[in-house]
């Protein structure tokens, strides 16, 4: 059984930029422990010398013409942004 503690869940939530409450951390730890336990059986499959599959369509390194294409409408993009300043998207300060 994989050992998960609240600290690992907190570390993962930091990596994923995900704010979690204490109750959520507890619940997620128990759910993930249960799920990861079921995954253990994978280790019994012999994969020596087998290459990984990252996708199934037989196309690789697709190139396209380097040419001008239509851009999206600036206004439609800005209309979606929660906060704007003129033609810019405004965010909270990056430094404290």
């Amino acid at each position: 059984m994989p050992i998960l503690n609240n600290k690992i869940i907190e570390q993962m939530s930091q990596l994923a930029y995900l704010n979690l409450t204490q109750e959520e951390i507890e619940a997620l730890r128990s759910d993930l422990e249960n799920i990861l336990d079921k995954f253990q059986a994978l280790s019994t499959v012999n994969t020596e010398g087998i290459s990984p599959t990252s996708h199934t369509s037989d196309v690789y390194a697709v190139m396209r013409e380097d040419c001008q294409a239509e851009a999206l409408e600036l206004n439609e993009i800005l209309d979606n942004a929660p906060t704007t300043d003129g033609d810019f998207i405004k965010i909270r300060p990056v430094l404290d």
Binding site: I8, I9, M12, S13, L15, A16, Y17, L18, N19, L20, T21, E24, A27, L28, D31, L32, N34, I35, L36, K38, F39, A41, L42, S43, V45, T47, I50, S51, P52, T53, S54, H55, T56, S57, D58, V59, V62, R64, L72, E73, E76, I77, D79, N80, A81, P82, T83, I89, I91, R92, P93, V94, L95, D96
Partner: protein, 486 residues
């Protein structure tokens, strides 16, 4: 035919439109009225797009009067709400995208608009297509039109329930691990996931990019093929898209299946399968056999590992894909924060639901240093073996046939508390996405008034034979003509 117009197929409606027995505008209004009324009971539609629909219907009527219509011109369709529609709110069933109006159309939407199909609404789904019951939506659960105390399946539950209840003639869904086929089975409609790469994913809000595929939910196998012919294209905006190696998905519809070799993978008749599903499946096999197919049991021993492979790869890809939701560019944003990073933490904490958080953490864990080899890398290698196992099977067989799901639709709230139990409801559909194969679910029985689905799986690019076998079966039964009493 006495059947109400909103329960007809594309082919039947095409004739009515072309013979001017009804206009697309009249049809669209009838379907929208039906949809508004039904939606109060089953919540299958998040947004009705009435203005767009009426405008499109008028354009369709003009096109029909000019005589240059396409099979889908003037046909009312609905779109899963994780497919981008320009200027129309697209939520992916998540609070984090509330209010987001994409500045562009997905490629499949462009193709539907090109033929003047009539987009009537955006359908409900599990948040970011993560779920098997459409209970994980921030916009409320969808209910099954056959029994509103049961789930419609998921994640394309809104699309399947909408087609089943006559809220549209066809719908688009997306399928990452069964999200078109399992709800189609639960709602008694036909739903197909084509070969990975045949439909552009441009504008589909990404979940598991190597597994995601858009496809149709419809009332007949022929309707599935008509939609696929309309939306399939090679698209420079999706580098994994491919030109289909055949012209017409439905080329072989109506042809016999004498001598077609059908494999029955025994691992799909899992422990705990509902007895009525097994009985309906055996009956389906008898029909295929009496139609001349050559049936034989086979073994695909890696099937048991598919669920683990999927629930490592899909959340890993999701944890990366969902990194873009930072509260800066669109959707909700928690501004009451000291700095930008804190704002992102809080926005994501409040904007994502529990299942999405669970999968982001699972994926982050599987990709993180120290666990990568044991989980992600291992799963990708087993994925190779699963593909090889299917390839070997298709050296002998033309198609494989299985039940679509081990149960009929389950009660609302009965599995939501146990994530792994919920994951098990996709046990028969997940292996197909892992291998990128085409597969369809078609209606194949009723148990206590709840629909049962039959899944037909083909080799890569074998979409035509899947549709041929499905259509042959459909013509021997009348399961696809059953409608719910709603």
């Amino acid at each position: 035919m006495a059947k109400e117009i909103y329960y007809k197929t594309i082919r039947q409606i095409r004739k009515l439109l072309d013979d001017r027995e009804i206009s697309s505008t009249e049809l669209t209004k009838t379907v929208l009225n039906r949809s508004y009324r039904i939606n109060k009971d089953i919540n299958s539609v998040i947004t009705h797009t009435e203005d767009l629909a009426i405008k499109s219907a008028e354009a369709a009527d003009k096109r029909i009067s000019e005589g240059n219509q396409h099979l889908m011109t003037g046909i009312p369709v609905m779109i899963k709400d994780n497919i981008s529609t320009q200027g129309i709110e697209t939520t992916a069933g998540s609070k984090i995208l509330a209010g987001y109006k994409p500045p562009f159309d997905a490629t499949v939407i462009k193709r539907l608009k090109n033929v003047d199909a009539v987009i009537c609404g955006k359908t409900n789904l599990d948040e970011f297509a993560m779920g098997s019951s459409t209970e994980n939506s921030a916009y409320g659960a969808t209910r099954n039109p056959w029994d509103i105390d049961k789930v419609p399946g998921g994640s394309s539950g809104g699309s399947a329930a909408g087609v089943a209840a006559g809220q549209c003639i066809i719908a688009l869904g997306s399928d990452t691990g069964g999200s078109i086929r399992q709800p189609s089975a639960f709602c008694g409609v036909s739903g197909m996931k084509p070969t990975y790469g045949l439909i552009s994913r441009y504008g589909l809000i990404a979940f598991g990019s190597s597994l995601d595929q858009i496809g149709p939910v419809a009332r007949s196998v022929e309707d599935c093929s008509i939609v696929l012919n309309t939306i399939s294209s090679k698209d420079t905006n999706d580098a994994t898209s491919m030109k289909r190696p055949f012209e017409n998905f439905g080329e072989n519809l109506g042809e016999h299946i004498k001598g077609v070799k059908i494999g029955i993978p025994k691992e799909y008749l899992v422990d705990g399968i509902q007895p009525s599903i097994k009985q309906a499946f055996e009956k389906s096999l008898q029909i295929l056999e009496s139609n001349g197919a050559d049936l034989k049991e086979i073994s695909l021993p890696l099937t048991d590992h598919s669920l683990s492979v999927y629930y490592i790869i899909a959340p890993s890809e999701a944890s990366s894909n969902l990194a873009r939701y930072d509260g800066v560019k669109y959707g909700i944003s928690i501004q009451n924060a000291r700095n930008s990073v804190e704002s992102t933490f809080l926005t994501r904490g409040q904007g994502f639901g529990q299942e999405v958080k669970r999968r982001i953490l699972l994926g982050t864990y599987a990709l993180s240093a120290g666990y990568y080899d044991a989980y992600y890398s291992k799963a990708q290698k087993v994925r190779t073996l699963i593909r090889q196992e299917f390839s070997a099977a298709f050296e002998t067989f033309d198609v494989l046939v299985t039940p679509t799901a081990p149960t009929t639709a389950f009660g609302l709230g009965t599995k939501i508390g146990d994530p792994y139990e919920m994951y098990l409801s996709d046990i028969c559909t997940i292996p197909i996405n892992i291998a990128g194969l085409p597969a369809i679910s078609i209606p194949a029985g009723l148990d206590n008034k709840m629909p049962i689905g039959l899944q037909i799986i083909g080799p890569q690019m074998g979409d035509q034979i899947v549709l041929q076998v499905a259509s042959n079966y459909e013509k021997s039964t009348n399961w696809n003509q059953k409608t719910p009493l709603i």
